[in-house]
C-alpha cells in the first residue's frame, strides 16, 4: 500500500503505546525477548525488553496463534452434562516475526482454513496484527532460509520493518497495518532517498546468506517420492531418541492432541488441545494396540516427507521454511539439511 519511515525512537514510543493500548483491551504485544542466551516470543510489558536484534527464537511465534496448550471447550458433568466451546482469542500484535516464520504462518492459515475451518485458530489469527522484520544477517549455520526461498517475504504481514540504521522502513501492506501505524506512531512517507537506502540494505544482505541445499527445493517432492525406501531412514531411526523436539520447535508443525481435564470433584472440566508430535511412540497408536507408525525410522521418514512432499501436495507449498530450529535442537544432531542433501546425492 505504502512505504513509511519510522525513526528508531519513534518505534520505541510506538511499542510503548501499543503495549499500553493493547493491555487496556485485554490484549497483548508479543515479541522477541531474551531468555538466558537465547530468545523467546513472549508478551512485552516493558518495551525495553523487546529485542528486535534477536537471532532466532527457541519456539516459533506460531505459538501466539496455535498455543502450546489451549482450551477448546468447558463442560459440566453434574446433573445434565453439557459442553460449550471456548474460543480464546484476544487482540494481539505479533511483533518482530522473521520472514521464515512469516511463511510458516501463511501455511498455517491455509491448514486451519481448509475444508473444516478451525475457529479457535482463525479467530485468534483474525485478531492478530503481524509486524514482521527483515533479517539482515544470518542467524547461524543451521538456518537455510535462502535455499528455501524464505529469506524475504512480500506478503503475509500487516507491517514489515527493515532496519535502515537510524530508522526503519515500514512496508504497510494492509488496512489493519495502516490503522495501527496511524494510531500508535508518527511515521513519515518514505522519500526517494529512503527508498534508495532500503534497496541498498536489501541488496547488501543477500550475499551474507548461504545456500545450504545442494539443489533447488522445487525438486524436493520428486526426490522424496523416489526416496521412500532410502537407507537414510533406518540410519536416522537408529539415532533418533523420539523426543519430539524437532516437531515442537517447527514453525509449520501443527499436529495436536486433545485431552479432557477435570476438577477434583469431577463436576467440571476443560477440553484442552496441546501440541503433539508424530515422533512420539503413541502418536499413531489406536486403542486396540496397533501402532501404525511404530519404528522410529518410519517416524523420521514421515517428518521429512511431511516437510518436503506431503504438505506441498496438499497446500502447494513446502512444509519446511528453512528456519533451522529442528537442526539446532536435535539431541542426536539429526539435520534436515544433511538429510535432504543426502537424498539428492543418492537418488
Amino acid at each position: 500500500m505504502s512505504l513509511m519511515i519510522l525513526d528508531k525512537e519513534a518505534l520505541a514510543s510506538m511499542v510503548n503505546a501499543l503495549t499500553a493500548g493493547y493491555a487496556s483491551q485485554g490484549g497483548a504485544v508479543i515479541g522477541p525477548r531474551a531468555k538466558g542466551s537465547q530468545f523467546v516470543f513472549e508478551p512485552i510489558s516493558d518495551p525495553a525488553h523487546l529485542r528486535l536484534d534477536y537471532d532466532t527464537s527457541i519456539l516459533p511465534p506460531k505459538k501466539a496463534l496455535q498455543p502450546v496448550e489451549e482450551r477448546l471447550a468447558t463442560y459440566t458433568m453434574q446433573g445434565e452434562p453439557s459442553i460449550e466451546a471456548v474460543i480464546e482469542a484476544k487482540p494481539t500484535v505479533l511483533l518482530g516475526v522473521h520472514t521464515c516464520d512469516l511463511h510458516a504462518i501463511r501455511l498455517l492459515d491455509k491448514v486451519f482454513s481448509k475444508d473444516h475451518p478451525d475457529a479457535h485458530y482463525l479467530k485468534r489469527r483474525e485478531q492478530t496484527v503481524i509486524i514482521s522484520l527483515e533479517c539482515l544477517e544470518p542467524c547461524d549455520e543451521h538456518s537455510f532460509c535462502k535455499s528455501m526461498g524464505t529469506l524475504t517475504a512480500d506478503e503475509g504481514y500487516d507491517l514489515h520493518l527493515t532496519d535502515l540504521g537510524t530508522a526503519y522502513a515500514v512496508d504497510v501492506a494492509t488496512e489493519a497495518g495502516e490503522k495501527l501505524l496511524s494510531k500508535y506512531a508518527t511515521a513519515e512517507e518514505a522519500s526517494e532517498e529512503d527508498i534508495g537506502r532500503l534497496n541498498q540494505v536489501l541488496s547488501a544482505k543477500w550475499p551474507k546468506f548461504t545456500y545450504r541445499l545442494d539443489f533447488d527445493p522445487a525438486e524436493l517432492p520428486g526426490l522424496l517420492s523416489a526416496a521412500y525406501d532410502h537407507p537414510l531412514w533406518e540410519e536416522l531411526g537408529e539415532r533418533c531418541f523420539a523426543c519430539g523436539s524437532c516437531t515442537n520447535v517447527c514453525p509449520t508443525c501443527y499436529c495436536f492432541n486433545v485431552v479432557d481435564e477435570v476438577n477434583m470433584m469431577r463436576t467440571e472440566g476443560e477440553r484442552v488441545r496441546h501440541w503433539d508430535s508424530c515422533q512420539l511412540d503413541e502418536f499413531a497408536r489406536v486403542a486396540g494396540g496397533e501402532n501404525f507408525r511404530e519404528a522410529r525410522s518410519e517416524r523420521q521418514r514421515h517428518r521429512f516427507m511431511r516437510k518436503g512432499k506431503y504438505i506441498y501436495e496438499t497446500f502447494g507449498e513446502l512444509g519446511c521454511v528453512g528456519c533451522g530450529r529442528c537442526v539446532r535442537t536435535c539431541v542426536a544432531s539429526i539435520s534436515i539439511i544433511d538429510g535432504f542433501n543426502t537424498i539428492h546425492e543418492s537418488v
Partner: protein, 274 residues
Amino acid sequence: MTTSIYEPEMARLTKVEQIGPLEKLFAIELPDGRNLGHDPGQFVELSILGIGEAPISITSSPSRSNGSFELCVRQVGDVTNALHQMEAGDKVGIRGPFGHGFPVEKMRGKDVLFAPGGLGLAPLRSLINQVLDERSLFSRVIILCGAKRPEELLFRDELEEWVERDDVECHITVDRGNDEWDGHVGVITTLFPKVNINPRNTVAVTCGPPIMYRFVIMEMLGKGIPETQIYLSLERRMKCGVGKCGHCQINNLYCCQDGPVFNYADIKGIEEAL
C-alpha cells in the same frame, strides 16, 4: 466464524445391549430426534465428558435411521471403557458424521461381496442393511463373515437372518470352533472357494483387523475382481475427525477425511495403508 468444529452435541443413549464378549450396541438419539444424516461407512466422534473423545464407525444404516443411530463399540480404551459403564438415558457427546463412506451408487445394479472380519462387521453392517433395504436395486448379495471364535460373532440374529434369506448368500466361519459350533472352521479366506462370482460385475467390500486386509484382498483379486471395484474401511487414530490433528495420517492422506473408506486401486501404492 464463531462455531467450533470441536464442540460436540449432547445426545442420549436410548438402548444398550451386550452383543459380544467385549462389545455393546448403543442406540443414540440426537436432540429433537433429528436424523444423523450419515452415509454407510462414515464415523462419529463420540465423547464422554471428563474422559475424552474417540472415533467410532456408525453401524446402523441410513435406511433405518428413525431418529436414532447405532454404534457397536468394543471395550478397549479409556472412552470405550467409560461408555460401557453407561446406561440408557445417559448422555454422550457426538460430532460428525465424518469422512467418506461407501459409494453405494456405484454398487447399484452390481453383485456385492462383503467380507467383514471380527469387529469389521460393525461398519460394514451399515452398508449391508442399506443394500438389503434396497434389495431390488442390487444383483447378488454375498456375505463372507469371519470371527475368531463363535462367541465373538456379532449381530448373531442378523447373521442368522442373512443365512436364511434366499436372496442373500451368507457364509460364516470362525478361526477356532467349540463344542456347540457346527459351522465352518477356518480363517475368513477359506470361505472364498465356496462362492462363484462374476468378477466384472462384482463390487467387494472388506473391513477387519489390520492383519486381515492383505489376505482378503489377495482372495478378491484372485477371483478376478478389478482393483477399482474393491473398497476397504481402515482403522486409524482419527482424533479430530476433520483433517487437522494429524494422528490418522496414512502417508499424505488423512484417514478421517480421505477415508475411512478407500478404493483399493487408490491406496495400493500408498505404503502406510495396508
